[in-house]
Amino acid sequence: MAAGRTLDGPKAALSAAYWVFVLYLLGPLLLMTAMSFKAAEFIAFPIGETTLDWYAKVVQDGQFLSAVGYSILIAAATTLFATVIGTWIALVVSAESLWLRSLVFALACLPAVVPGMIQAISVRIFIATLDVPTGTGAIIFGHTLHAVPFVMIMALTRLRTMPGSLVDAARDLGADPVVAFLRVTLPYLKPALYGGMIFCALLSIDDFVRTFFLGGYRTTLPMLIFARLQGGMSPEINAMATLVLLTTAVVGLYAEQLTRKARTR
């Protein structure tokens, strides 16, 4: 009876290591959030009096709101293009013969593994050669390039679980290839595509390096925060970051749940 609760050395160590890791991950975020409620200007302990003034200031900050709007616009466009292109490549990859499949797959994955800095510079050089100006279009192009492989991999994972007989059955019952795609393949892909779209949006909103190299005069959210930091740390930035953290965490967890549902069904 008593043996059930004896101290298990390795197990305890493992669990301790886990909690240290969780603390290490969450510590900075907790600290940042805590400081956003501090009444005084300086970011240091003790916190002393607390206030919501910084949040009030953030939501009335025209620059912040315009940067958020611009980031969302770019994220929406990126998501749209990346989802269409990524799904299309996934369909090509799943249909092609073996050697072509590996080639297309490898090429399509490349943007996900090339360092952001290198990619940003290469795209910058590329658009300069084509005489395309930097700005919104260039940013969307760069973000889309980065997001496509993630959509493709998610769509492909889902496609691999799809029995080939489903499309056959649709064709057999009178559907031409387009109708079969719209009424059978696309609905089957839907959960993976939702997940992929949210992932695209988050990647785009989070991106700094590509935006920095490809942007024009309007600032996106990460660029605004970067610019503000140059002027010194203030609890207002903490409040800003906390809002972004909260939104992305909720959206990200929702996306994760969606893709998991897709995997189990």
């Binding site: 007989s165 059955a169 064709r171 057999d172 019952l173 009178g174 031409d176 009424r183 069904r265």
Partner: protein, 356 residues
């Protein structure tokens, strides 16, 4: 009567391997035809060519007199019941069944009525609003069947549809399939590797081997008069005896099995005296006697093994150094000897000379 389906010298090869080799086959309206054979014999390729999912390298496929050889699946009046059912997972049962009807351009009232009728046909009227994953295997099987029947095809193709079901359910579904086929009067082309399914349901069985038709005929004809060694051993169990031909005049053939004179039916062969021939005798055609019987064929042996199987028993009889012969006996028949020295006897018409 004009056949509903006609294969004319249809050949399909993948690179160098020939899947279907110059196949000729007619299917009559209302006929239940089964393509039976081991995996890789070309039966599924034949079905997929009729469905429009494979294109023959040569030959023609006619559907109700029209050449459909090169038409895509959606332009042919045939429907398939797939092995894994292939129900659309994101649609309700009713939507699944309505799919083909919508694409035919039926009005929604007519679609609704037809879906209801079909669900009633398989006693699934209460399941219209369910999703496929909420149904059992047998129910999904029925839905796949009526979904394929819904657009009223010229012929229904069934690609090993019962292989995922357990033995008991499979037996039930065989009866149900046959009943539905008879009630709807549709031609069915059924593909299987299971001889029992083929024997139970078919009007006609087409045995395929290596891309060719080995033999076709009614279940009784195939079972009772197999033409080749392949058919004899693929359908049911059989004793194969290596004989030499003594004489072959008329329908009867006189043979010699290691010194024992045997009379047999000629089958589809024309054996020449002096040549070797293989003889097939079903275990249930062989009877056991305590003393020498007066049957056309008889040999003496000693029971070496007895396996009780409930409604019958399988005896292996060692025939003095010539080999084993298996016989099926009724375990309740006390007159049948089951051990020691016995006589085996069988009638001439129950032994068939095989083509090699």
């Amino acid at each position: 009567m004009e056949p509903i389906v006609r294969f004319e010298a249809v050949t399909k090869a993948y690179g160098k391997s020939v899947a279907v080799d110059a196949l000729d086959l007619d299917i009559a309206p209302g006929e239940f035809v089964t393509l039976l054979g081991p995996s890789g014999c070309g039966k599924s390729t034949t079905l997929r060519m009729l469905g429009g999912f494979e294109t023959p390298n040569s030959g023609r496929i006619l559907l109700a007199g029209r050449d459909v050889t090169r038409l895509p699946p959606n332009k042919r009046d045939v429907n398939i019941v797939f092995q894994d059912y292939a129900l659309f997972p994101h649609m309700t049962i009713a939507k699944n069944i309505a799919f083909g009807l919508e694409l035919k351009g039926l009005e929604s009232a007519a679609i609704h009525r037809r879906v209801g009728e079909l669900l009633d046909l398989v006693q699934l009227g209460d399941y219209a609003a369910r999703m496929p994953h909420e149904l059992s295997g047998g129910q999904r099987q029925r839905v796949a069947l009526i979904r394929a029947l819904a657009p009223d095809p010229q012929i229904l193709l069934l690609d090993e549809p019962l292989s995922a079901l357990d033995a008991k359910l499979r037996g039930q579904m065989q009866m149900e399939l046959k009943a539905i086929q008879q009630r709807t009067g549709k031609s069915f082309l059924f593909v299987t590797h299971d001889q029992e399914e083929a024997l139970t349901m078919s009007d006609r069985i087409v045995v395929m081997n290596a891309g060719r038709i080995e033999q076709m005929g009614t279940p009784e004809a195939l079972y009772g008069r197999p033409a080749s060694r392949f058919v004899a051993s693929f359908i049911g169990d059989t004793n194969l005896l290596d004989c030499s031909v003594v004489s072959a005049d008329g329908p009867r053939v006189a043979l010699d099995w290691q010194g024992v004179a045997i009379t047999a039916a000629r089958g589809e062969t024309s054996p020449a005296p002096g040549t070797r021939a293989r003889l097939a005798v079903r275990p249930e055609a062989i009877r056991l006697f305590p003393a020498e019987p007066d049957t056309a064929n008889r040999v003496r042996g000693r029971v070496s093994r007895r396996v009780f199987k409930g409604n019958h028993a399988l005896l292996s009889v060692e025939v003095d150094g010539r080999g084993q012969i298996e016989a099926l006996v009724d375990p309740l028949d006390l007159a049948v000897p089951t051990e020691g020295e016995v006589w085996l006897g069988w009638r001439a018409e129950n032994a068939v000379v095989l083509r090699d």
